[in-house]
Amino acid sequence: MRELKLMKGNEAIAEAAIRYGVDGYFGYPITPQSEVMETLMAMRPWETTGMVVLQAESEVASINMLYGGAGSGKRVMTSSSSPGISLMQEGISYIAGAELPCVIVNVVRGGPGLGTIQPSQSDYFQAVKGGGHGDYKLIVLAPSSVQEMVDFVGLAFDLAFKYRNPAMILSDGVIGQMMEKVEFDEYKPRWTREEIIAKNPWAATGKPPTRERNIITSLHLQAVDQEKQNIKLQAKYKEIQEKEVRYETYLCDDAEYLIVAFGSSARISKKSVEIAREKGIKVGLLRPITLFPFPYKEIGAYTDQVKGILTVEMNAGQMVEDVRLAVEGKVKVEHYGRMGGMISSPDEVENALEELIIGG
Amino acid sequence: MGKVRGAIVVDTERCKGCGLCVVACPTDTIVLADEVNGKGYHYAKMGNPEACNGCTNCAMVCPDSCITVYRLKPEKSK
């Protein structure tokens, strides 16, 4: 039986982590997501599930504590917001290169630079195209409700361990700070030492006589080996792209126009769809849940049916490029979005649909 | 009791001819060979085997752990 609560997104992520059986959280304060660590510290999971919670001296240290924990086969996570996530990029690239599972929550705020503490979605490129060095991908999940903040903790870990790859929950200040009803699963026990060694034979848990030493590394000095590693990573990303796309549609079956939006922009756009429908405009909403793997094929399929697509994202236009890739020029694609932490109203989005797509 | 006798065996292919064992040896047993190993290093060897008392100084300072040391257990005085 799931337990019903009323909570902020940030708080819900903390409780979800404990209930899921996460082994360790390493983080650093930054608005608008400090509640994640505050909640964890208040709940003292080290006394109940044995979960380690530690405040580090920086996001650079946090991500590298994660790297150590992940290399030990444990379920570890961190959370931060845009500037902090930028500091983590090197560590994330190492974690992806060493093929380690872990979960990184980004509660995005307005940028660039110190920016603002208001919500934004301007870290899309960084999350999806890779903000660190080298060819790598993060599995990126975009929650648009406090319930999805909870559900995606488990989903992110499952996918991370299934593919031995870091996963990111790309949220934003709206969903992090907003309170909503949320249902929780029961507590799952943390993995025992034996389970970890059985499930993750690659982990550095101390070399018994029965196996070669395990080396957690992203270093392959010989180029021929480094290329082999890259080929292996690309095959993994291809498999993820083929098997793990998740998205949701709303009133798309008879749609003549489409809005594509994720996270809190999707919530706003759902209202815009209803406003437009009242005016007789047949528009639907497609909400990508996985930003990598992006639903290219699924969006592309609508080009036979719709005359234009508006992407709505709180940034200067980032996901719009992926939608254009999906559409391959067959139909008009435009972007609408406020920047710098401003949040558009449903009417603004509906007007943009009319001006940029229908009228244009 | 007679002088303690020792001997060293050098992994001549692993040795890089750094010479640290030569200066560490208290009895000037070790020299760098005129010949070179597969990598072109003048490897270490016992130049004066009788002087070795098996004290292991050379082996301890060797950065590449090339030296194995033997020491003859001193005979009960015959």
Partner: protein
């Protein structure tokens, strides 16, 4: 006359390479102190019988390939981040022995914050700190511990504090943190100093069973190719120049 063959017999064996060292030839330059410290760590792991219970964290630097030489489980850290990895590993697996192996640039330049804060939290780990006053792997650049007047490729006319700042005595800094329980500075240029360093490393590892905080063993070392000296001369130069500024001995032992 006793024949060598009579001496070289298994029963007369008194010293051989630790079995925890692999047979991989080490890439270190001839005479480099790294190799000596590697063997000491391997010997200690063998003697404490913790090969299946120890995890090493290797840095970026000359010892980036340490995992090819010591046959234990390893993590490869990003430059400067080893103490953070070690924190994560030790907090999540407190029953394991965890140590970092870092150079002076790794520990006292880019990784200063991670080093200080791991020690300030008193992480129950061992930090092995190789201080040769130069960035070896990248070809001999100035390091945070490069002495005043010492030549390196990025201070070719010698370090000048007006431009380059002063060499940092990081170990003295760390000794002042309540989180550290054992802080010592050793060397491996003579057999006697090697014995002392082994004793220090052994204590630093065994401290992890007493859970009394962080142990740091700094090994003042040479860098023959970086200093552009022969290994023997480098040892002499180290004694003459490095030891006065980085005096050997225990700074803290609680």
């Amino acid at each position: 006359m006793i024949d060598i063959k009579d001496i070289v017999k298994p029963e007369n064996l008194v010293f051989k390479k630790s079995r925890v060292l692999t047979d991989n030839p080490m890439h270190y330059c001839p005479g480099c102190s790294h190799g000596v410290v590697h063997n000491l760590i391997a010997e200690i792991i063998e003697e404490m019988d913790i090969q299946d219970n120890v995890i090493g964290v290797a840095p970026v630097g000359c010892s980036v390939l340490a995992y090819n030489y010591i046959d234990i489980d390893w993590h490869e850290a990003a430059h400067g981040r080893a103490p953070a990895l070690a924190t994560g590993i030790k907090r999540l697996m407190p029953e394991k022995f965890v140590f970092t192996y870092q150079g002076d640039g790794d520990l006292a330049a880019i990784g200063t914050a991670e080093t200080i804060h791991a020690c300030n939290r008193g992480e129950n780990i061992t930090i092995v700190f190789i201080n040769n006053g130069i960035y070896g792997m990248t070809g001999g650049q100035m390091a945070p511990t490069t002495l005043e007047g010492m030549v390196a490729s990025t201070c070719p006319s010698g370090r000048e504090h007006a431009r380059d700042g002063y060499p940092i005595k990081i170990t003295e800094l760390l000794a002042q943190l309540p989180g550290t329980c054992y802080v010592t500075r050793q060397a491996v240029h003579t057999a006697g100093s090697v014995r002392k360093t082994k004793k220090a490393l052994r204590k630093a590892f065994e401290n992890q069973t007493r859970n009394r905080g962080t142990s740091i063993v700094e090994v003042v070392s040479t860098c023959n190719s970086g200093w552009k000296m022969s290994p023997v001369k480098a040892n002499d130069w180290m004694v003459e120049n490095m030891f006065p500024f980085y005096p050997l001995g225990d700074l803290k032992d609680e």
